[in-house]
Symmetry: C3
Subunit: 422 residues, 3 copies
């Protein structure tokens, strides 16, 4: 959209009584706010409150990029499906008869009703409960009663979302022309192989609703400056909670002791470092504290080693794809975090726990022990983020200086402002 | 209002971050959206989401037309009243000392307080609980303490709503110049006489809140394309659930067998077929399935025959007045449906069951049996309508093709768009 | 802000589908609405519904004037604090090491998190739970880990709110340049002395949430025209519930009998009568009904006499400061009322009960008896105010004529409209 149009729209918004700027006596347009952003600082209040900015995020971010929808182990058989829901969208992620994973908008082409009402299930046909229009598992309209002779079924299939599998991880994009995942695939093939991305299953998942703007949730996940004050359990296991100097020492020790069986080389193509046309991604490996094996109570191992791993080497890898999906890969399990915007003032953090696909619950792993660390940690993050929003809502909030441990958040902010500009 | 003004307002609305168009990259004004409507299709998303369009509906539809407020049997004695509530309005429908039915806005002329706080009751005077200004049952201000000498009580009566009785049915309009009901009265006098509209009583009523735009609820009631998939109980009794050809056969058989004791002739002056200045209305009679007598389990009769009817003839009549009030007249009871808008995203469906006024509950009819069919049917309609709204809210919803069984909905859409244009 | 700008903004608002004017076919700007106000009448609907007007109230009223935050007896020791919350603001009111009362915005200067999460408590340091930035009790930033070398702690203290003590009453203002309390202090020194404002304690407090615009709550408190119809308990004790003539007689009798031990002379510098630059205030003393001693069941005394008072003289004093804080001073206790806006359609009334600081609960006063009158009275006021909002929301509400007993409300309306104009 043209800057002029947005200037207009933003000035209008400024007058609508809903946004922060007017109440702060601030008449800047979105473009001005973006230009005025001062690196090294948090962003202005408007970015966390303004419904107009949220609308622009939908168009420029949520409907363009890739997001984790779920895992193939949720839909092993033809007709198995689950719903992925974000903002006002509902997407049917389904296994077709030929074994492929497809995603269809859960919107009937007749008068728009949701077709699948259950969050998951198995269907032979996708039949709308309203007027019984029926679509096959590939989304083609196969029956619609009493339509005019000139009605063309072939033009009335379900709207398709793009799907890409990364191992068993199902990513979708609602864009017709999403950024490419090819660079990431080529770069991280060895990582997926080492950790057995093709041989995992979803062991558990949990949704944490958050009464705050989605960016405060994502920012929270981009920095470990808060880990020591807020996450003592995490801080007893992960070296990332340490100050940069101490962390560097531990990392050197770890690299010296490493047998090279796991990739150490970083790939920092995330956020503002992504190549044009590519989806942002990142891979890195960081030491745990001495003696820690995994992200569990006491740093104990909680499941069989993933993929080709032969031992616990006292480290964990990080992996991210796109702006909303993040993974922490321990040697014996992987945790996924997905941040889902629901409105300009609410979002959710969905946490997924993955183990190797031949592991048997009760025998090879205990769900309580597996999920403990990131359940309590995400609970406290939810509190932190909500309290952050409350203060950001204040007339007296002003952007504050970032610390040396918030460099990754800075990357997110740089990327976000450019993406919002569109 | 002038198109220019509305163009302006709508462009502004488009920028307010609340409407669908912006998020669909759609900048059309209301006028453009109305002009662009394609007959044979459902309407654009904006009509079901946009608060600006809802404001216009209030002015051009809700405050102009007639709506069922209730029934005289609810207020047999002088001073008996009940409240009719719609959107932000509360109306006192009351029996005056001279036995007339009047409707007053429930808004004190002093500082605006609601006067009647109970949903129904009996009052000798309408005394505001705030400062004790008192109004007689006709709405005249009769006492107000300590007012200046120049204060004129006669200028401070309650604002009156228009009232018309159709048999015992109480219709009200909030317009000073509502469309005329005279044509309908003249046309349908024989119908009211046959079914004994003057000799009914309200046996039961139930409100179904619906988390959807009011039009999705009204549209749902305009077509029986969904009856077979959604309402098996209804479909086992009513021929209207059949495909047009099969329905036509049954209707021919019925007409051949009819003894003419009930009017068969249709009056299709509803929605876009109403004469200028007249309120839209419709009368029609449709067969039930073979052997069915009434809208109850197994098609059994559930109450004494209405009015002058001598037998069950295997049919039911439909009657509507205005855009929000609909009636289904079985030979032994009448069901009324009223769709009440409460906001741009919520409404309610209020269902009323009427029987002849000398019928005695327990002896002549059983409430459970009387209300069974349209209780479960309206419950499932509520689910259908809410699921419809969820899909219409999607960025990917587009107007879809209507079927041959949605001709009556087409009439509603044509009328609605013209009414909205004003 | 310039009128032009507001004209623009208001026209926009008028189109946003949220405000009352459009729906009333009313296109007036805020300035026009203010100019068109007719003295002797209540205000137009827009003032009670329009989010744009509420935004303007935040800037021109809530963030400028003084409001009761609480009482020193709530924070006797260094580090004791409580939170005062209004609209989107949270303020930490705290006792410093040198015994002073300070108020800090509860907004961390790093990324804006709320710092104090409990409504009250004791703190040695104000440490943000998010990243552990720590502020001393005076609001100075004393530690922030891992910041760049050029980071200046001295520039990152908590934002301070203005604080003034009136006896033990803590008033705060969020303005850098609030109206002066000096005139009030000089004028009412004898009153504070007589009633022992320096020697009270908070005995109880209660919050009443009100689903109505804050002005309807303040207006309700400005007039006793509603006392007889709505507050029979109050009306059995207070002469103010009487008609003006009867009240005047009682007041004469009271003044004749008075021994002058309590100031009788009125100070009417409230609302539109305040001197430029001064905060509005008012003092007055009014008789109780014959034989009544205090605001309690049967007019009985419920606590030890306040300050220098030697007897019950059958009267009570009124005291107000600023637009939102009001006090009723009986000879044996003081009741405070604070009206707190939370949004354009919700507010709360917080009631405080004060007794002399050496009174012992159980021995010298009973909480039930002390709080009875203004608990039930405020409960019924809450109902009244909500019913008033419901009627004001109607399309058919129009400003109504005020009575002879609403002169003080008239002062409020005059002041409000001037303050809104800014």
């Amino acid at each position: 959209m043209s800057t002029d149009k947005w200037n207009l729209s933003f000035k209008v918004q400024r007058k609508s009584g809903m946004a922060a700027a007017e109440w702060n006596g601030d008449n800047r347009t979105i473009e001005q706010l973006i230009e005025d952003y001062q690196p090294g600082y948090s962003m202005e209040q408007q970015f966390y409150r303004d419904p107009e900015i949220y609308q622009r995020e939908i168009e420029n971010i949520f409907l363009k990029h890739w997001i984790l929808a779920g895992h193939v182990s949720q839909i092993p058989n033809a007709g198995d499906f689950f719903l992925f829901e974000m903002d006002r969208e509902s997407v049917i992620v389904i296994r077709t008869r030929d074994g492929e994973v497809r995603a269809h908008l859960n919107v009937c082409r007749h008068r728009g009703s949701h077709i699948c009402l259950e969050k998951q299930g198995n269907a032979k046909l996708l039949t709308c409960p309203y007027h019984a229009w029926s679509f096959d598992l590939d989304g083609n309209l196969v029956s619609a009663r009493l339509m005019a002779e000139d009605f063309d079924k072939s033009q009335n299939g379900l709207h398709a979302a793009k799907v890409e599998l990364v191992g068993g991880l199902i990513f979708i994009s609602l864009s017709d022309n999403p950024p490419s995942l090819a660079t990431m695939r080529k770069d991280l093939g060895d990582v997926f192989d080492t950790f057995g991305f093709d041989h995992m299953k979803l062991a558990a998942s949990k949704t944490f609703p958050i009464a705050a703007n989605w960016k405060l949730a994502v920012e929270n996940y981009q920095e470990c400056y808060h880990c020591t004050p807020s996450h003592q359990e995490y801080a007893k296991i992960h070296a990332l909670a340490l100050a940069p100097e101490k962390f560097a020492e531990l990392k050197e020790d770890y690299l010296a002791a490493s047998d090279g069986s796991v990739r150490q080389e970083e790939s920092s193509c995330y956020f503002d470092r992504a190549k044009p046309g590519d989806e942002g991604y990142q891979y890195g490996r960081n030491p745990l504290l001495k003696g820690m094996k995994s992200g569990a109570l006491g740093g104990e191992a909680v499941a069989p080693l993933l993929g080709k791993l032969k031992r616990h080497d006292g480290a964990a890898s990080e992996f991210m794809v796109g702006p909303l999906s993040f993974f922490l890969i321990y040697n014996d399990h992987m945790v996924g975090y997905r941040f889902v915007p629901n409105s300009h003032e609410t979002c959710s953090c969905d946490v997924f726990w993955f183990v190797r696909d031949d592991a048997v619950e009760g025998r090879d792993y205990d769900l309580e022990k597996l999920t403990w660390l990131w359940d309590i940690t995400t609970q406290s993050d939810e509190e932190i983020i909500v309290n952050n929003q409350k203060g950001v809502d204040s007339h007296f909030y002003r952007p504050g200086r970032l610390s040396k441990m918030e460099y990754f958040e800075q990357s997110f902010l740089n990327w976000y402002l450019a993406a919002l500009k569109g």
